[in-house]
Assembly symmetry: C2
Homo-oligomer: 539 residues x 2
């Protein structure tokens, strides 16, 4: 594991013996003096990202041991409590990111909301931080362990669909269910509905709620922060279980507590079930248009989305010239594409609506200098064309595929750092232009894939060694500041995790972050739920 | 003013002299003994709804006087500080509802965010509750004054559009701006975009945020809890001003603090500006279908919405037989409609999409027993047909119009209590059936108008005197419990105010309401922001 941005020794987490706090009321906990952490289960070195300067007192290694014993008693059965070092390491780190990470002390396989309550109560008794693992697709280190020890709840066995109400267009499932499995099930059952949030393959409902995800469909259907989650069942840090809403599509009955947990990255509660709103499946077709530069591509998109045909645009994805070269190099297409900035569209509607929309798109892209427009006339052509866009999703890359960036990196062992930012759509061309120039100046090989309809893009930056990784990290830092200066955000859909914590104050201002801390401290005063993620709630 | 559900004397609010708390830190405030309230500015008698059992200490009448003096100094200028009894009374009550209400102690005309900060700081210094007034269209008593005295901030002068970004499809305005004015301005400027939330006429952006509103367009565009508010500027109870987001369409950067204020009814912060996302204006046409009963009408809607043509349904509104009779009696149509349960549809899309959708709608409604289907072929026909639906909005009624319910009430001075609930769409027919039966049994004249695509309906119940008002109040209580038992909510879009506070625990459970209290107490520990609304945060 690469350990860029890590320091040599762990600091910050503080211990207290269990006997002192076992019967304390559920309230703010006193801070004790700092102690040495050398015995704690740290695998990746310490990190200023995971350090909590005025941290609450967490359980000692002895407490961790007692908690594990108690977990074994509370959740008997084969493989429910795992302490194999490889498992602890794997659950605390991600194959997709290079942020500092720590192994957990124990991994617990949850089978029910009641299991989660038991774990939360034990975690609170011994003051052991608790981190939830879902589909493990996070790119920002959301499920890293905590330096002084942490319990990881693995939700992968809680993947059941519990109820489908076709006529009401909703579905209830456990939070470990994957969005692709849900859509496959609906299709198999002949139900003409689907769940439109489509982040990376393998993402679970719980993780999608935690990061406030979106995906390619967001331009038409919005994000996780829209109204796709009608109700969530949540285990709070107090061990209490709440449902945030009933099953009606709309409600104005009090604070929107559902939204409190969407984007909170497991720092306020653990979502165990969710009621999802579904949308009718609408036929789609795919088109592509190529442009002399990103500016012309983006201005075409802006104009298209503001026409009455805008609602027929389900997705509009930008692949830059580097990515088109990679697709050509991968030999996925019969005839290589011209190496140009390219838009892939997914149009939705009846055949007649799609035909009309396609005409409007063609006319507008041509008026913005598009050099080539293709419309997939058949299902097969559409599948093949969209496959090219999907190829550009970083989560589709295997290490073998990465080597296929032959035009931009000839190093066979190249790795890829993925980051995302989002800006008002009109600022996107300038941001892309400046970023590409900056990356080239830094000697880094990169490509850009964007949900351009929302002003959101992913930069995929290659590196081959520790030195280049440092250079990537610095370039990402500059990219984020550039986005914030353009009235944008440090992350459009990947979340904060540990990777973007340092940008929150710059983006939102001290008082907005202070408000987040006020909420966090009120709901989780012991800072046990995923500490160190989103922001340093104890500073 | 009618004062049903009010008791004879005020109780509950408690005083402390200013000198005791003037320099206290911003933190939980001690509770003093109860004092007599007979001197306070109470106009409507006391109410158990506005009483806060273990209430914080609020300013005495003397403190209220000092606060008003300080407000005059802080906001000099003509008519900025109003204490005329009629004004105080009018700002504390609503022409549209019959909940208990209290006059304010003072009304302040705000012109800027800075003005609001000044008022909030003075309110906090003297412990005087603060209530915001927007378009005054609330149906649940949101802007009632507080028994021990309250400052009302009138936002009606903060109604400016500050910035329109056509290419990004967003707009920034002050929170006193009305949604209809915003849409008129966009139209006048030739901008092909609109803001799709359409609650009652006269509603302001601030009020729409506060109640988590929706309207007829919600079936296609969702509610205020979707993603139409990109960023809000909020004055917190601490006097701090925050912006919740930047201008990017999407962000996963931390907690969704925008949503914290949507539906919070001014209890957590005062919204002074908002950045709205706009949608392209899409051509529409209107159709209507009549049915032998509500069950058949609703099952038709469910089927239509689940087809690929569902996204072309912008609105689908149910008017029951009583309302159709009222429309006939109003003489608004050349030939009277058959007196049957009726759906009005607004279809959107290109002419060809609308034609296709209309065919699908016609086919489905006929298969569900529709006895009559009409499609407005021309703009004029569409306008006339939709006008009939709009007539059914209670806010369109003048007292003269109400008398036109000639088939259901011959009393010339009849008044109308409006309430709303929302249930899963499949439960709607049973709810409507049982409600109509219950109202008839109680001898009450009523009609039902529903946003049936969302399972949300308004019951408009007529009464002519205090005795009938008591009977209406009891019937609304039964209606709400019926909705909650059907997995629904006590309010789909009108909000809680004082009218629905008693149902929150039944609907959401004690622990969910407790979570709301935790948040409220953390952000507004002195309970100065609109106390008594949403729920009794001090109990």
């Amino acid at each position: 594991m690469l350990t860029a941005r890590l320091e040599a020794t762990a600091t910050g987490a503080q211990f207290a013996s269990t006997s002192e706090h076992e019967d304390l009321p559920y309230a703010h906990f006193k801070i004790s003096d700092s102690e040495d952490l050398s015995d704690a289960s740290i695998t990746g070195g310490a990190s200023d990202v995971l350090r909590t300067p005025s941290t609450p007192t967490y359980g000692s290694p002895e407490d961790v041991g007692k908690a594990i014993e108690e977990l074994r008693e509370a959740l008997p059965g084969k493989n429910r409590i795992q302490t194999n070092p490889d498992t602890l390491q794997a659950h605390g780190s991600s194959p997709n990111s290079y942020h500092p990470s720590f192994a957990h002390s124990v991994v617990v396989m949850a089978h029910s909301t009641e299991d989660v309550v038991k774990v939360v109560n034990i975690s609170r008794k011994y003051r052991i931080p608790i981190v939830v693992s879902g589909g493990a697709t996070s790119l920002e280190g959301h499920f890293s362990g905590f330096p002084s020890g942490s319990i990881c709840i693995d939700m992968s066995a809680m993947n059941h669909i519990l109820e489908i109400n076709e006529s009401d267009g909703d579905l209830r499932c456990q939070s470990g269910a994957k969005w692709e499995d849900i859509n496959d099930t609906l299709k198999e059952k002949g139900i003409p509905l689907f769940f439109p949030l489509d982040p990376g393959p393998g993402a679970t409902i719980g993780g999608m709620i935690g990061t406030g995800c979106s995906g390619t469909n967001a331009v038409r259907y919005g994000t996780a922060k829209a109204e796709w989650f009608l109700n969530v069942t949540v285990v709070l840090p107090s061990g209490k279980v709440i449902k945030t809403r009933r099953r009606a599509r709309k409600s104005s009955a009090g604070f929107d507590t559902t939204k409190l947990f969407i984007g909170a990255e497991g720092t306020l509660g653990i979502v165990t079930e969710a009621t999802l709103r579904l949308a009718p499946r609408v036929p789609t077709k795919v088109a592509m248009a190529q442009f002399p530069n990103v500016e012309k591509a983006v201005s075409a998109v802006q104009q298209i989305l503001n026409t009455p045909y805008g609602p027929h645009i389900q997705c509009v994805e930008l692949l830059d010239d580097h990515m088109m070269a990679a697709i050509n190099a991968a030999g996925m297409v019969d005839a290589p594409y011209p190496v140009q900035d390219t838009l892939f569209f997914k149009l939705q509607g009846s055949p007649e609506s799609i035909r009309e929309t396609s005409n409007v798109v063609q006319e507008i892209v041509q008026s913005h200098g598009s050099t080539r427009f293709e419309f997939a006339a058949t299902e097969e052509e559409a599948d093949e064309m969209w496959q090219n866009r999907k190829y550009a999703s970083q989560r589709q890359f295997s290490w073998r595929d990465i080597a296929l960036f032959s035009t931009i990196s000839t190093h066979p062992g190249a790795k890829c750092w993925t980051t995302d930012v989002c800006v008002p759509v009109s600022r996107l061309p300038q941001l892309v232009y400046e970023t590409k120039e900056d990356l080239a100046k830094a000697g880094l090989k990169s490509t850009i894939v964007g949900h351009v309809g929302d002003g959101n893009f992913h930069a995929l930056i290659l590196f081959k060694d520790e030195e280049e990784l440092q250079s990537v990290s610095a370039a990402v830092h500059r990219l984020v500041h550039r986005a914030i200066e353009m009235d944008g955000t440090c992350t459009g859909e990947h979340g904060v995790g540990v990777g973007k914590t340092e940008y929150l104050v710059d983006e939102l201002g001290e008082d907005t972050v202070e408000l987040m801390k006020t909420i966090k401290n009120a709901i989780d005063p012991l800072n046990l739920f995923n500490p160190g993620k989103v922001c340093d709630f104890c500073s």
